[in-house]
């Protein structure tokens, strides 16, 4: 270390404010959980939500801050701001979900602060510019997720899902770390800012090692993002986990992993050129095709949503393929597409899982036949589910459509139209299984008397928020695109 780093005089509050708030809330909740061992402890979840809201406020205050980094490690830049806000919003939705879930099922109260600590890891992944810190943040998120998936230790499905997730996750992080070690070796630094300057020289001197480093990092993150050859754990972990945790895995953990992958690839490998990022395109294509086709025969609703989320990860990976082709002046558009899709994806996925959870609790089964008669039983929830499902499929007027549209336009713009065609074709395939759901929703229930589907006010709020999010982004995308467009993505 040549630069003296003054530990006391760093802009900690500005650079890692949200993280400090969430971590502090986590510790407070942990201590309170130790003290109050009896009775209804759901107020701990409410407390956690307040903490997340406070962190969200801090993140929004510093949304447009000048890029600053504390200790050359962690900091605020447009990239960190956007992903932090996204992560905190999905954390809020997930916590709202668990608030209802923990009232009705026996899940240990420890899950509340485990979620908060996982959010700290996710925020680190979004805002760190150091490989060591990124790795530690990823592991913090992963280890907390392994525990959360298997938290119902008396349920074999939960434990089995947790074990598969843990084995695949550990394999992924070993591969990722091996890739990182090569990148450190040929550059001598773990700092992404230094790496982004050293990229071209590094690549021209050590081409083979650079390619290995890139592929290892892409594959390692591929395990976490459930990209296709590495997705085997996804349906089992999703089906085994408590449903709020499933929505946590599908949205928050995926958003953070995409943020980390994007930052690593763009900062380290921006110079070597197009052919490296081409690999991301190939993986995206395989993921879209396989994810959508395996989803076709699924009858279990959670498994279907799991494969659908695999396919969605493929869509989000498409813009990654274009970083090598696009000039850095055009990157802002790609960043916008990725973050817009992630925002849209968060609302519709959490909403869909919320309704699946209500049906699961009501019928005690995850088979898609549980959907039959939903419109008769609760027209409002049926309409909400219709909106989520159409948005996941990519119907106009919903956020999912615009997300796919922007990505499609990018593929045309940067002459990778083959990826756009695959995106379009696989979306058509996805309509098939989503429409299958809708047919059942509006089918009449064979029995004479129809009981209304009961849902707590909390769940109604959650579904309403997700509906508003999905529709608002679909009808007035400027709400999100306007703040995104003003951001100086490329700086320094």
């Amino acid at each position: 270390m040549t630069t003296p780093l003054d530990m006391l005089h760093q802009p900690y509050w500005m650079t890692m404010g949200p993280m400090i708030v969430v971590a502090a809330t986590g510790f407070v909740v942990m201590i309170l959980e130790f003290i109050f061992r009896k009775g209804d402890r759901r107020w701990l979840t409410v407390l956690s939500m307040l903490g997340v809201v406070a962190a969200l406020v801090v993140a929004i205050i510093h949304f447009n801050a000048k890029p600053t980094f504390a200790l050359n490690t962690i900091g605020v830049d447009p990239f960190a701001s956007v992903f932090s806000v996204l992560i905190l919003i999905s954390a809020l939705l997930v916590l709202l979900f668990t608030l209802d879930f923990s009232a009705k099922s026996d899940v240990p109260a420890e899950h509340t602060y485990l979620i908060l600590f996982a959010v700290v890891g996710a925020l680190t992944m979004a805002s760190s510019i150091d490989l060591v810190t990124l790795y530690v943040g990823l592991e913090l998120l992963s280890v907390a997720s392994y525990v959360l998936v298997a938290v119902r230790t008396h349920s074999i499905r939960s434990v089995e899902g947790g074990i598969k997730y843990m084995l695949m996750g550990a394999l992924g992080s070993a591969v990722l770390l091996y890739g990182m070690s090569f990148i450190y070796g040929i550059s001598g630094t773990t700092n992404l800012m230094n790496l982004s300057g050293a990229g071209l020289q590094m690549f021209s001197t050590y081409p083979a090692i650079t390619v290995i480093g890139f592929l290892m990092m892409l594959i390692g993150m591929g395990f976490k993002l459930s990209l296709v050859p590495f997705h085997m754990w996804t349906p089992d972990a999703y089906a085994g986990a408590p449903t709020p945790i499933t929505s946590f895995l599908a949205t928050l953990s995926k958003a953070a992993s995409f943020g980390m992958l994007l930052r690593m690839l763009v900062f380290i490998f921006n110079a070597p050129g197009a052919h490296l990022f081409y690999w991301a395109g190939i993986i995206a294509a395989i993921t879209m095709i396989v994810g959508n086709f395996i989803a076709l025969p699924q009858r279990n609703m959670k498994r279907l949503l799991a494969f659908s989320s695999v396919a969605q990860a493929g869509y989000i990976l498409v813009p990654f393929a274009m970083f090598g082709i696009a000039q850095s002046a055009d990157w802002a558009g790609l960043f916008d597409s990725i973050s817009f899709y992630l925002f849209a994806y968060t609302f519709m996925t959490v909403g869909a899982f919320a309704i699946v959870y209500l049906l699961e609790r009501d019928k005690g089964s995850l088979d898609s036949d549980a959907l039959i008669g939903l419109y008769q039983r609760s027209p409002w929830l049926a309409v909400a589910l219709t909106i989520f499902v159409l948005s996941l499929a990519g119907m106009p007027l919903t956020a999912g459509f615009l997300g796919k549209f922007y990505i499609f336009v990018d593929t045309m713009h940067f002459s990778t139209i083959w990826l756009g065609v695959i995106l379009f074709a696989t979306s058509v395939v996805s309509f098939y299984y989503y429409i299958g759901w809708l047919r059942k929703v509006y089918q009449k229930e064979p029995v004479a008397e129809v009981t209304a589907l009961s849902a707590s006010p909390i769940m109604h709020t959650l579904v309403a928020v997700c509906v508003i999010g999905t529709l608002a982004l679909g009808i007035v995308p400027a709400l999100l695109l306007h703040p995104l467009a003003g951001l100086p993505w490329i700086y320094g």
Binding site: L131, V132, Y135, V136, E139, S142, V143, Y146, V147, A150, T153, H154, I156, R157, V159, E160, G161, G162, I163, K164, M166, L167, A170, L171, S173, A174, V175, L177, Y178, M180, S181, F182, Y184, G185, I186, S187, G188, T189, T190, M202, M232, P235, D236, A239, G240
Partner: protein, 108 residues
């Protein structure tokens, strides 16, 4: 620095890491006992550590960062394996098994 070059070629050290990585990968993919699968993954992490420490001395720009990175990796690996083994205990309590083939409640 006028120090004599380190006598062992960098390539040999990295080759050792690469071989360990592949042995670990093979074990992780083929072994039946879940504990051994975890152990194989630890082997892969060790290979990465060997790389890091090698590069911290013999890399393009030697620095202590590599050694510090490997210390972080060790801590993280310890945390990961603690949770992993606790999960295996939970499975054993339910199913009296610790083998991959018995993970069959969900279809793979």
């Amino acid at each position: 620095m006028g120090a004599a070059p380190f006598p062992v070629p960098t390539g040999s050290l990295l080759a050792l890491g690469a071989l360990l990585f592949c042995i670990g990968l093979f074990g992780a993919l083929t072994k039946r006992n879940l504990i051994i699968v975890l152990v194989s993954i630890e082997l892969m992490l060790n290979a990465a550590n060997i790389n890091l420490v090698t590069f911290s001395r013999l890399g393009v720009a030697p620095s202590l960062s590599g050694q510090v990175f490997s210390l972080f990796t060790m801590t993280v690996a310890a945390a990961e394996i603690a949770v992993g083994l606790a999960l295996l205990l939970a499975l054993f309590r339910l199913r009296k098994t610790s083998e991959v083939k018995d993970l069959n409640i969900h279809k793979w």
